[in-house]
């Protein structure tokens, strides 16, 4: 304290300033425009407001919202885009501080969306009249907007190329296969979810992979980088990542398994907090995303649109797809992950 006696008054002033800044918020909640109205639903005005929470990649969100805004100039859209984990953190924090602040949530995989639905965050799907979305890609609360495909990425020039998923466990590729950590993202988990429940695979497939020297790496993009750099020769990753790397000239090729790429759908839903005008704005967005122009925007950014007949990225002739049994997987992630980690853990 001895040196502080002299400038304690200044210190006290500084303190008051900093605390004042943090306290003024807590002291005068009425100064916030959002606090008075329904939480998340923006105050009613001539121009509607809409808050979108999403984990969809930035370029796709931008492309879709550009088109949406041209058709709906009166609706101002606020976007919070983050990874699935950060989105989960944000939503959990919102719910404990006045309520969810989103009107629409557009996720990357059905598993986290199902969890939101179970928590009562979604309205039942508000536009049952829309057509074209396959029944495998919808639930009572959310509908798919695009398909993501888990495929094999191979290093250019690798011979022989694997033909089907089971080939990854072949001794020919001992120590050459990279798998994305299924605990790090829902899209990576989709592969585990599919194999764990698909006939002919099961956890035994992962045991064989492990014995064969397959290595788990941290993320789906890292699988592509690792294969491109030659650290591994093969890996499981998303089709769009491979196409992007091929486009940059990276020495990798997309190898579509003969028994079908693993498809996961990216769902969208209206939240319970979107009421009144915000609710109508939310439904306008849902309708646009599942319209031909919205779907075309999705296709142009490298993803397969969910509606048939709208062109997406090129796929090999005769390419097929398989679907994880989503409803059987809901709520079982922990259990399946634990079995997997018993094999690929330390």
């Amino acid at each position: 304290m001895r040196h502080f006696r002299a400038f304690a008054p200044a210190a006290v002033l500084l303190l008051a300033g900093v605390l004042g800044v943090t306290a003024c918020g807590s002291a005068s909640p009425s100064s916030s425009p959002a606090a008075g109205g329904p939480v998340g639903g923006a105050p009613a005005g001539p121009a509607g407001q809409l808050t979108l929470y999403t984990s969809v990649t930035q370029n796709t969100v931008t492309a879709v919202l550009d088109g949406f805004s041209r058709l709906n100039p009166g609706i101002k859209v606020t976007v919070f885009r983050a990874t699935t984990g950060q989105l989960n953190a944000r939503i959990a924090a919102d719910r404990r501080s006045g309520g969810l602040r989103a009107d629409v949530i557009w996720g990357t995989d059905p598993l986290s969306m199902e969890s939101y639905a179970e928590q009562g965050l979604f309205r039942p799907w508000p536009l049952p009249g829309l057509t074209g979305v396959p029944s495998a890609d919808k639930t009572t609360y959310f509908w798919g907007t695009r398909e993501l495909y888990l495929v094999i990425v191979a290093r250019k020039g690798l011979t022989p190329m694997p033909r089907a998923w089971a080939d990854l466990a072949s001794p020919a590729y001992r120590g050459k296969v990279a798998l994305p950590d299924p605990a790090a993202a829902g899209s990576a988990f989709a592969a585990l979810g599919y194999f764990a429940t698909a006939p002919g695979f099961g956890m035994g497939f992962y045991r064989t992979l492990k014995v064969n020297g397959a290595v788990q790496v941290s993320t789906i993009p890292e699988v592509v980088t690792d294969v491109a750099e030659g650290r591994y020769q093969l890996g499981i990753t998303l089709d769009s990542e491979v196409r992007a790397a091929v486009g940059q000239g990276s020495p990798v090729v997309l190898d579509w398994p003969a028994d079908g790429a693993i498809a996961l759908y990216s769902p969208i839903a209206q939240t319970v907090t979107a009421t009144g005008q915000a609710g109508r704005a939310a439904q306008a967005l849902l309708r646009y995303v599942l319209s031909a122009p919205g779907q075309a925007a999705i296709g142009k950014t490298g993803w397969q649109p969910v509606l048939p007949g709208i062109s997406g990225p090129p796929r090999p002739a005769g390419a097929t797809e398989v679907h994880p049994a989503w409803t059987a997987l809901f709520g079982r992630q922990d259990q399946i992950l634990r079995q997997y980690q018993a094999i690929f853990g330390p």
């Binding site: 990874t83 969890s115 750099e229 330390p346």
Partner: protein, 596 residues
């Protein structure tokens, strides 16, 4: 203070710093006594230090106000987010907490976290101390080489190292050499120790400059001690405080690291608490999982508390001895040992900063991953991709926020340091560190729960998060500088006729300014490189550069991510120059660099 000094303030500063040697001179006969002189001159025993001015009229009211203010700050920045998280953790009741702690992998992750952080602390502090001892007489520019690794943002460090030293990495392609065990605990410890070394070095090096009085060492030598004995019995004991303080910071930093164990630990299935918390958050949106995440985040706080609280109490008991400062001795003639040290420092800087940085540059310049990093494959497309959209504006925002944090954190740290005396010192230091121990994602959640109702998506809420997280870096350096001000300095100035303002301006602020500048530089760098909190807290119009980086990472834009990471190093170079400037100032007698 020696009474017969001329009553001029400039001289007083010198008098203040030169007050101790006579005390030491009286004890030169025995080394044991020297050690006592070096470490035991704590204020309670030194006459006329804290007690008298405290009792002075007028001071009491200000002190009470200040204490109330500091407590309110701790409540606002530490208690609010922590209590918010604790309430979530309590949602699940004792069974929920028990389930979270006994969940498969949780105990192993906790053990890994402590083991890794412990090993990193031992390695980084030992190497940092050794280098500090070996380079104390070297020019500042040379010593800044050792801080080089701090340039690389932590979030690309794991990737940079694996591309530099992993299989098919740069060194593998050029020389066929890889770092064995890079993907696994050994690699994590190596990279974290390489990155933690500069923190330890800065702390210890500064402590050495300010505390190890060459007169004491000379006295020891003339009393018959060999070089090693003098080091062991005089220099190292005097360094105890900065070494322990460095260890505390390195430990908490290593325990909280996410990006490095994520990239290097995943192939070995090696999880730490931060990576477990991340995967729990990513994989499940269920409330039960979220409760578990908060329990684990609080477990990290408890772990750090268990290590840090006794530590800080011990430090508080050791620290407040005003140490004599002596102008650095003139550079000695270069010996073979010095040349070996030069080679070592260059080798370290090249290994831990130069080559990883080079891989980052090459990745940013090369068209796509896996292409040979040769001119024919070079492009600026990655920079263009990274800077499409609002990246420029986001960069400005991040710079502004980091600057605000860099200015405020040392001020807030100074308040705590000014108050933290006696038995409050240890607990206050620990309290200020706690928010740093919470993983960024969990701290952001705590901050939203505390302030989101009113400040949701504002720049202010991001600033609050930065201040909470990096307060420790604003506090400890300033605390250290205050510790070294000789007792009674302001009183002496006042007796000599200076008004209170003049006394503070001329004898207290100059040395504090140096520590505060260093603290500001560190806070700026950490806030500028921070990737997690602002990507959860941002709102319309407050997108930070971290948001831009995360978007690129999500798109799998390896080159663009590297390009953006490189952009982050540029202002840090500026900050490093500030530190260099501070260091230059520090070499003036009567001021000090950083030693928490």
């Amino acid at each position: 203070v020696n009474p017969p000094r001329p009553p001029r303030l400039a001289a007083l500063r010198a008098a203040g710093t030169a007050a101790a040697p006579p005390r030491a001179a009286g004890t030169t006969r025995r080394l044991a006594a020297l050690r006592a002189a070096g470490t035991a001159a704590a204020p309670p025993r030194a006459p006329g230090t804290a007690a008298a001015p405290l009792r002075a009229a007028g001071a009491t009211a200000a002190t009470v106000l200040l204490a109330a203010g500091v407590l309110a700050l701790i409540a606002a920045l530490v208690a609010v987010p922590l209590v918010s998280l604790a309430r979530i953790a309590a949602d699940g009741g004792l069974t929920g907490i028990g389930r979270a702690l006994t969940a498969p992998g949780a105990a192993a992750a906790a053990l890994h976290t402590v083991a890794v952080a412990g090993a990193v602390t031992v390695l980084a502090v030992a190497a940092g101390t050794g280098l500090a001892l070996a380079t104390q007489r070297r020019p500042v520019r040379f010593r800044l080489l050792i801080a080089g690794p701090l340039l690389i943002p932590e979030f690309v460090l794991g990737v940079a190292w694996s591309q530099a030293y992993g299989p098919a990495g740069l060194s593998d392609r050029l020389t066929g050499l890889t770092v064995p065990g890079l993907f696994g605990p050994a690699g994590i410890i190596l990279v974290l120790a390489g990155h933690g070394l500069p923190l330890a070095y800065l702390a210890v090096g500064a402590g050495l400059a300010a505390r190890a009085d060459p007169a004491l060492e000379r006295a020891a030598r003339s009393a018959g001690a060999g070089g090693w004995t003098a080091l062991r019995t005089v220099t190292l004991p005097l360094l105890r405080v900065p070494v322990l303080a460095a260890a505390a910071l390195v430990f908490v930093t290593a325990a909280g690291s996410f990006a490095i164990p994520e990239v290097l630990g995943t192939p070995a299935g090696f999880a730490t608490l931060p990576t477990l918390i991340y995967s729990d958050l990513s994989l499940s949106a269920s409330p039960a999982t979220f409760d578990q995440v908060t329990v684990l985040a609080l477990a990290m706080v408890v772990l750090v508390l268990l290590v840090l609280a006794p530590f800080d109490t011990w430090l508080a008991r050791l620290a407040p001895a005003a140490r004599p400062e002596v102008p650095p001795a003139p550079a000695a003639r270069r010996t073979a040992g010095d040349r070996a040290v030069t080679a070592l420092v260059w080798g370290y800087a090249l290994f831990a900063a130069g080559i990883p940085m080079l891989t980052l540059v090459l990745t940013a310049l090369t068209r796509g991953p896996g292409l040979a990093p040769v001119p024919v494959n070079w492009t600026l497309a990655n920079f263009a991709a990274g800077f499409s959209g609002g990246a420029g504006l986001a960069l400005l925002r991040s710079t502004g926020l980091a600057l605000a944090a860099a200015i405020l954190a040392p001020l807030l740290g100074g308040l705590v340091a000014g108050l933290a005396r006696g038995r409050w010192r240890g607990p206050l230091a620990t309290a200020v560190t706690l928010a740093y121990a919470i993983p960024g994602s969990a701290l952001a959640v705590g901050i939203i729960i505390g302030y989101g109702r009113w400040l949701d998506g504002s720049a202010l809420i991001i600033l609050i998060a930065y201040l909470a997280k990096f307060w420790v870096f604003g506090h400890r350096p300033v605390q250290a500088a205050l510790d070294r001000l000789p007792p009674g300095l302001t009183r002496a100035a006042r007796i000599s006729g200076a008004g209170p303002g003049t006394a503070v301006r001329t004898v207290v602020l100059p040395p504090l300014a140096v520590a505060a500048t260093t603290a500001a530089g560190l806070v700026f760098m950490l806030a500028f490189h921070e990737l997690t909190m602002s990507t959860i807290l941002y709102g319309p119009g407050t997108e930070t550069f971290a948001v831009v980086i995360m978007n690129q990472q999500d798109l799998g834009g390896v080159g663009a991510t590297a390009a953006l990471a490189l952009v982050l190093t540029a202002p840090v170079l500026v900050a490093a120059s500030t530190v260099a400037l501070a260091a230059r100032l520090a070499r003036r007698p009567g001021s000090s660099w950083w030693s928490p």
